[in-house]
Symmetry: C2
Subunit: 363 residues, 2 copies
C-alpha cells in the first residue's frame, strides 16, 4: 500500500497526510456533466456501457478531488443480472413486478457468476483501475443481504418493511435460504470488482435500521458477517466499510458483523444521528469511522455546509487536541440530486485544508 494513499491510511488507522473524503452517491444526478452523458432510462441499462459508467465514476474525482472513487452502480445489479425481474424506476427506486413472497420464488435467484453475468461491471472497473490517479482507490460496493432482500420482497419503496418482516417471522426457513443466496451475490459481486482492481469496498445495509436489534441479530447479522468473513478470506487486508441509515441502535451488531472481515480494523459508517465521539465511547477508542455530515446541511448552502463540516471534524479531535487517524469524511447518507456541486467542492477543499495543517507529516 503506497504510504500516501490517504483513504487507505485512514481505513487502516494509520495517520494519513490529511483526512480523506468522498461522498456516497458522489457520481450522479447532482452533477451537470453526469446529466449530459447519462441519457434517459434505468441506471441498470446505463451501467451496461463500461465507457459511460467509467466516465460517470470519474466525474466527481476530477471535479472535487475526492480521495476515493465509488463505482457508478446500484445495489440491485446482481439480482437484475441473474434475471430475478427487478428494475430501477427513475424517481421511484427499485421496482419488482413479481415480489418474492414464497419459497418457490427463490428459483428466480440463481447464483451470481459475476465475471459473466456482470461482465460490464468488471470491464468498467478495469477501465477505472487504469485511469484513476494512483492515490485515489476505487470502492467496490454491494447491498447487504437484508437491504437487497427488502427490495425483492416489498417490490416497491416501503416505510414499514411489512412483507419483509412477515417473511422472516413466519417462514424463517425461506428467509434464511434467501439470505444465503444474497450473501453469495454480495460476495461474488464485490470480489469480482476487487479482482478487477477496486481497492476497498462498502456494504450498504441502508434499511437495516427498520429492525429491532433482537431481530437484526437473529435474522441478519449471521448473513452480513458471512459476507465480511468470505471477503476477508479472499481479499485479506482490503478495507471494508459497513453502513446503514438510522442504525444507531444497531451499531454494535453491525461492527460485530464487519469484524468477521480479516483485515484488522473494520470501518463503521455512521449517519448524522451518531456522533463520532459517541461511537468511539460505545465501541472503543480505536474505532475507525466514516461519516457523517447530514446531507440536508449541504443543501442548506455554503455557510451551513462548512459549519457542519467543522462540527464533524471537531468531533474527531481527541482530548489531547490531535485528530483521530481513523476517520474517513463522508456524508451520513447519499448526495441529494439537488445538491450544489460548488458546495461539495468547498467541503472537500475545507476538509483537506483544515486536516492537512494539523495532521501533516510532509510527503
Amino acid at each position: 500500500m503506497p504510504a500516501d494513499v490517504a483513504f487507505l491510511q485512514a481505513a487502516h488507522c494509520h495517520r494519513p497526510s490529511h483526512t480523506p473524503v468522498w461522498f456516497m452517491r458522489q457520481a450522479g444526478r447532482s452533477l451537470p456533466e453526469y446529466r449530459s452523458v447519462r441519457g434517459e432510462g434505468s441506471i441498470l441499462q446505463a451501467i451496461k456501457v463500461p465507457e459511460i459508467a467509467a466516465a460517470i465514476t470519474l466525474q466527481p474525482v476530477h471535479r472535487y478531488g475526492v480521495d476515493a472513487a465509488v463505482l457508478y452502480s446500484d445495489i440491485v445489479v446482481p439480482a437484475h443480472a441473474v434475471g430475478f425481474g427487478i428494475d430501477v424506476a427513475p424517481g421511484t427506486g427499485p421496482v419488482v413486478e413479481h415480489p418474492l413472497r414464497s419459497h418457490a420464488d427463490l428459483a428466480r435467484l440463481r447464483p451470481l457468476d459475476a465475471e459473466h453475468d456482470t461482465d460490464y461491471v468488471v470491464q468498467t472497473v478495469r477501465l477505472l483501475a487504469a485511469e484513476l490517479p494512483v492515490d485515489v482507490p476505487l470502492l467496490a460496493f454491494a447491498g447487504a443481504p437484508f437491504t437487497v432482500a427488502s427490495y425483492l420482497i416489498e417490490g416497491r419503496p416501503s416505510r414499514t418493511y411489512e412483507h419483509t418482516k412477515q417473511l422472516m417471522h413466519t417462514d424463517p426457513a425461506t428467509w434464511h435460504a434467501l439470505m444465503e443466496r444474497l450473501v453469495q451475490h454480495s460476495v461474488a459481486f464485490i470480489s469480482a470488482q476487487l479482482r478487477a482492481g477496486a481497492g476497498a469496498f462498502q456494504v450498504f445495509d441502508s434499511w437495516a435500521g427498520a429492525l429491532s436489534r433482537v431481530d437484526y441479530d437473529r435474522f441478519v447479522l449471521p448473513h452480513s458477517r458471512s459476507v465480511f468473513e468470505q471477503l476477508g478470506t479472499w481479499h485479506p487486508g482490503t478495507p471494508g466499510i459497513h453502513f446503514g441509515i438510522g442504525c444507531d441502535h444497531l451499531l454494535e451488531s453491525m461492527l460485530d458483523a464487519a469484524q468477521g472481515h480479516g483485515h484488522g480494523t473494520p470501518v463503521l459508517g455512521l449517519d448524522w444521528r451518531t456522533p463520532i465521539s459517541e461511537a468511539r465511547r460505545r465501541m472503543g477508542a480505536g474505532l475507525v469511522v466514516q461519516g457523517n455530515l447530514d446531507p440536508a446541511l449541504v443543501l442548506a448552502g455554503m455557510a451551513t455546509a462548512l459549519e457542519g463540516t467543522d462540527t464533524v471534524l471537531a468531533d474527531n479531535v481527541l482530548t489531547d487536541g490531535t485528530r483521530h487517524p481513523g476517520h474517513i469524511f463522508n456524508l451520513g447518507h447519499g448526495v441529494q440530486p439537488e445538491t450544489d456541486p460548488g458546495v461539495l467542492a468547498a467541503v472537500v477543499a475545507h476538509v483537506h485544508e483544515v486536516t492537512a495543517t494539523e495532521l501533516g507529516t510532509g510527503s
Copy 2:
C-alpha cells in the same frame, strides 16, 4: 383518580390491576365499522361532525376493550383551523399548497383560539367524556412543534426534511418564531381537550428522529419543553406522553423536554428500536414507558403478533420477576390500515390475561 383506572395507575407508576393497552391510530382504517361511517374525503372534514368523530373514537374501545380512547383527529388540525392552508390527502398525508419558507409566511399562522376555531373537537370530547366507560380515559393529542413545522415547511411527505433543516440553520430567527407559534397551538389544542374532559395527553414528535441530537437540543427541545411546562402548569397531575419514531438517539432529550411537565413522572413513548429494559438502564429504573410492539409483527399474523407481545411484556419484567408498574402497552407506531382487527383484539386480551394473573390485586 379512581384506583381502578389501569391507564392512569400505570402512567403514575402505581401498580395497576393489569398492564393497560391501547394502540396509536386504533380508531381508523383498519376497522370495517370505521369504513362504513367514514365516507370519502379528508379527515379534516370528517372530524368536523362531532357525532361521527365520537363514534369513530368509540369503535376500538367497544371492539378491543382497550384501556384508553384516543381522539379521532389529526396533528395538522390546529394549523388547518387557523387557515394556514393545509389539508390531508387520503393515501398521501398532509399537503400544503404554499409551504412555509420565509418570515412573511408566519402571517398565515395566527394564534389558535381552540374553543372557537376547533369547537367541533371540543364538542367531540364532551360527547366522549359522557359516553366512555369510567375506567377508560380519553387521550388528547397534538403534534409537537417540530413535526407540525416539518409538514408546514416541506408541504408534502419527505424523507430528508431538507427545507425544514435549511430553515432552522439559515434563518434561526424565523425558525424559533415559527416554533413559538406552534407551541401555542399545541398547548391551546391539548388544553381545550383536557378542559372538555380528556384525562391524559400525548405529544407526537413523529419525525424528530431525522435530527441529530445536537440539532434537536438547539432547535426543538426548548419548544417541546415549553409545551409540557405550560400544560403542567394548567393541568397539574395529568399524565403526558412524549413520543417519536426512530428517536432512540434522542430519548434522553425527549425525556428532558417532558420533565418540564409538572405531574411527576412523564411517560416516554418508545418504538421497537429501543428495548424497554434498555431505556430504563439509560434513563433510570423508575422510567414510565409506553410501547413498543412493531406494528409489522401485528401484520404478520396471530402467532407472530402474540409472540412479539410476549417479548414486549417480558422486557418489562424486573430481575426479581415482578412486572414494572410503569408500562402502558402499545405498538411502536400507528396501526397499519391493513391490520387484521382480530389480531389486535387478541393482543389486548393476551396483555390483560397475562398481566392480570401476575399483577392482580383483586378488584
